[in-house]
């Protein structure tokens, strides 16, 4: 057994020397070589073989990549853990120190298997030929209209509503203008005189309010005020420029 191992190691060193992709590759090689069940690794044997391999590399003056040394220490660590006397009663739940290594090896094995399968598949699919693209007409740019039919109705109704509102707005103004045109200066004077009869001082801005009547109406009111003052039926007073105009009735 010892001799067998030695010769297999020798082969490993001479044949596969630079071919190991990493520590897992080497470990995997040893496992396969010794026909070991990956789930039941005899850690003592494998560790010894692994270390022997590293020594062999060292003897041949080969640089040993740090990853190989990391694996060596992992193996030695597992080995030492297994050597410790187990306190079975206490450590029922303690995991097998090999577990993590096994998990990694299983993953690695899967990768290896798929790698082999990919290699096989590539052989078949490498026999397939593709065609070069034809000279296609120059690329065009097409705009797709993204529209919503219901928006048509909504927009239409909105337009109509807006139009309706504007329309009403204008006709109000028109009505006021028309109504006011019937009111002559003479009529405005008579209106103002009636108001003054109560003997109370009037504020111009309250009698003639732009918010309530048209510009023309207010202007006519102003003329009426001047007319009343001229008739001697009222005195007008404006204390500040652009200020309030007071109309005070005057008895004659």
């Amino acid at each position: 057994m010892q001799n067998e191992l030695a010769s297999s190691l020798h082969n490993a060193c001479t044949i596969k020397l630079d071919n190991f992709e990493g520590p897992f590759d080497l470990l995997f090689y040893l496992i396969e070589k010794n026909q070991i069940d990956i789930y039941d690794i005899p850690i003592f044997e494998i560790t010894d073989q692994y270390m022997d391999y590293l020594f062999a590399m060292q003897e041949m003056d080969l640089d040993i990549a740090s990853e190989f040394l990391v694996m060596a220490s992992t193996l030695l660590h597992i080995k030492s853990k297994l050597l410790l006397p187990s306190k079975k009663e206490v450590d029922q739940d303690e995991v097998d120190p090999r577990e993590e290594l096994i998990m990694k090896l299983v993953e690695y094995k899967k990768a290896k298997e798929l790698a082999g399968m990919l290699q096989e598949r590539a052989k078949t699919w490498n026999k397939v030929y593709y065609k070069l693209p034809e000279a296609l007409p120059e690329s065009a740019f097409e705009v797709i209209l993204d529209v919503t039919p219901s928006l048509l109705k909504e927009c239409y109704l909105k337009c109509k509503q807006d139009y309706h509102d504007r329309q009403n707005d204008v006709s109000d103004k028109m009505n006021r203008i028309l109504a006011q045109e019937k009111v002559s200066l003479k009529l405005k004077v008579r209106e103002l005189l009636t108001k003054l009869k109560k003997g109370i001082k009037l504020c111009f801005s309250q009698v003639y309010n732009l918010r309530k009547m048209s510009r023309v109406e207010v202007a006519t009111g102003f003329l009426a005020t001047l007319e009343v003052a001229k008739l001697g039926r009222a005195t007008i007073k404006q204390e500040v420029e652009f200020g309030e105009i007071y109309i005070k009735p005057k008895r004659n």
Binding site: L132, S139, A140, I144, V147, L152, C155
Partner: protein
């Protein structure tokens, strides 16, 4: 390789991979048949491509043969080079389009009267997009243009006719009817 179908398949594969035309000599060498046999196989294939539901056909070019697409699929192939982009319509465009759609035929003046804003550019844009068009002129002073919606309009909105426009409710119709402005 003696089966005719297998030979034909091999020729198809070779011509496909070549992309270019391949000489009859070369083909006969590849399929290991004499030139006469090769020519008759190729002629047979030419007919098969022509009469089968295929997108490609076999063409003889002097002493060469080449695979190419059938001319009737030119438009589909052109579609490969087309990149599409979605685009919406502006609010103004929807407004003008809706007035034209519901009231067609309609003048620019009418549209502007309803919207209260100049709508010249919007109408032009809609015409460019082929959604509206000038269907004639009104028999009135100045003979103003009359606009209507196009077939493209129906297609884009998914209508089969103008009758498919979203229906106005009774109250809505009343409002619209009361306010028909004077043109």
């Amino acid at each position: 390789m003696d089966d005719l179908r297998d030979i034909e398949s091999a020729i198809e594969a070779v011509l496909f991979a070549a992309g270019d035309s391949v000489s009859i000599d070369k083909l006969s060498e590849i399929i290991n048949q004499d030139k006469k046999t090769t020519i008759s196989i190729l002629s047979g294939m030419e007919m098969k491509y022509k009469n089968s539901p295929r997108g490609i056909m076999l063409r003889q070019l002097g002493s060469n043969y080449q695979l190419c697409t059938k001319p009737e699929y030119e438009e589909h192939i052109a579609g490969l080079g087309v990149s599409r982009k979605k685009q919406g319509l502006s609010q103004a465009a929807y407004e003008v389009l809706s007035i034209i759609a519901y009231h067609q035929p309609v003048t620019r003046a009418y549209i502007e009267q309803i919207r209260g804003v100049n709508s010249d550019n919007v109408i032009s844009t809609l015409a460019e997009k082929n959604l509206v068009y000038e269907i004639g002129r009104q028999d009135a002073p100045g003979r103003p243009k009359l606009y209507g919606t196009t077939e493209e309009f129906l297609r884009v909105f998914g209508f089969s006719s103008i009758g498919d426009l979203p229906q106005l409710g009774m109250n809505e119709i009343k409002m619209v009817m009361n306010d028909i402005p004077v043109d």
